[in-house]
Symmetry: C2
Subunit: 308 residues, 2 copies
Amino acid sequence: MHSQKPVVPQPDSGLLRVRMNLAYDGGPFSGWAIQPGLLTVQGALEEALATLLRRPIRLTVAGRTDAGVHARGQVVHFDLEPGEWESLARGKMIDPSASLLRRLRGVVTKVLGGRVGAPVPYRDLAGAIEVHTAELAPIGFDARFSALWRRYSYRIADRAESWDPLTRNITLWHKHALDVDALNSAAERILGVNDYLSFCKPRQFSTTIRELQDFSFTRNNDGVVVATVRADAFCHNMVRALIGASLTVGAGEERPEWLHERLVAKVRDSKTILAPPHPLILEEVKYPDDAALSGRAEQTRALRTSED
Amino acid sequence: MHSQKPVVPQPDSGLLRVRMNLAYDGGPFSGWAIQPGLLTVQGALEEALATLLRRPIRLTVAGRTDAGVHARGQVVHFDLEPGEWESLARGKMIDPSASLLRRLRGVVTKVLGGRVGAPVPYRDLAGAIEVHTAELAPIGFDARFSALWRRYSYRIADRAESWDPLTRNITLWHKHALDVDALNSAAERILGVNDYLSFCKPRQFSTTIRELQDFSFTRNNDGVVVATVRADAFCHNMVRALIGASLTVGAGEERPEWLHERLVAKVRDSKTILAPPHPLILEEVKYPDDAALSGRAEQTRALRTSED
């Protein structure tokens, strides 16, 4: 989660903005954000796009996921010259959008498979990133700053009989039985617009004030407890810190009031526990109607500088 | 799926039969059945039990899954001397059953992690086998021969927007849109007691007559098509051959009647296509009430010799 200042194309910039929806298995990656020498989702995608477009492409992302964190509903954007967009169709009578999607899938597979010194076998990387749509975005769209909210899920199997090897890559195998009512009682007390410093790894010049819109726990039919966490935006490590604190309450080690006490204390100390990353999934990013996109981006940019 | 003749303890044999329910990720394994030099589920479990009990243990399994095939509801049994069972509690006032389960989990983890020359990193094997229960079985129980039926599921994502990297280990990413009505129309025509030779890799001295009790397709809310296949027992490769043939019908390349035509033709030829193993999951094995266990086992043993 590094600082980035995306260029927002104005209606008269002449650039075309492309929006892509994608999903990835965060397991094999050192997170979203590009880092020299490490396999990252951004690095793999930008390498694939550079291969396709024969020049460097910089992606702007809705949710910069940490190492091991997954996404089902990630959104990115990048900008192209109109000629570049048209050239994607290769002069044929086909849609540049469909062509980009099809060719990008092929190149991403090659980038992941052909990586020298890949830390995991190719077998594990095939299909680890799936681009679902690649289309021209409406005027004013910004994957990061136009977003109204981000929604994450977190899966916890708190009974040994629910430990399913087939979903162990996205589920916490927890040894303490959880009280879902206590979890919800704790969670609902910290909803709203608050300073979440106690649950954030703060960044210089950045606010830790966020609007937590949904924080709730449900036990599925298969016995797995799933947390839903939705906010206008998240500061660094926020979901994992919220879940980490909740597990203490869910196991009965702290009262439900404790989460709110931590919130108002505004401290980071040894009681700040990060839950593991692998059960965390970015499920959805919500944007306003087209007409409200620019306004939303201006408003958000004024509030935040280097976080989401 | 090799031949095995399990010893059935009679009420007066003095042996105690232990039933275990377990689940595994078939991905890293060369199938259930033990094979020299290969990592198999049976091999790992028998190694763990031998470590625990200080003598060789031979497991009898309900469904001998092929390489790459998974299980959520696998059932096995093995026999112990009463003294061995009691010794599991290590003289403490605890239940041998709970002690076996707890210790076996630890040893299985060590066996999987400590394997020299393991073909996949330890990270991938941790949690790949999960034993859910380990209890004394009722008189007459036989994991293989007492079973009334086996139920498998098979997951197919036939739309690119449903290709989810997080479940790619258990889902077929299929490039042709499937007609679920056509699939069901084809499937229901081959239900009942039939000779499934066209869908079986036959074994010497074995019948290929089975009772196919359920064969149906449903499109889930997430767009994934899930097949359910239930039979009293399956011959070798049967589910994958049934799915392979169905995909041809589902894509409109053959009429729904074709599946039945293949059935009555009783041939194995170039049109016998095996669907990939990784989307196949043994979900459940059903046994009769305790009183009917011995009778069921005798009945089954008379019908089949080396298959299930």
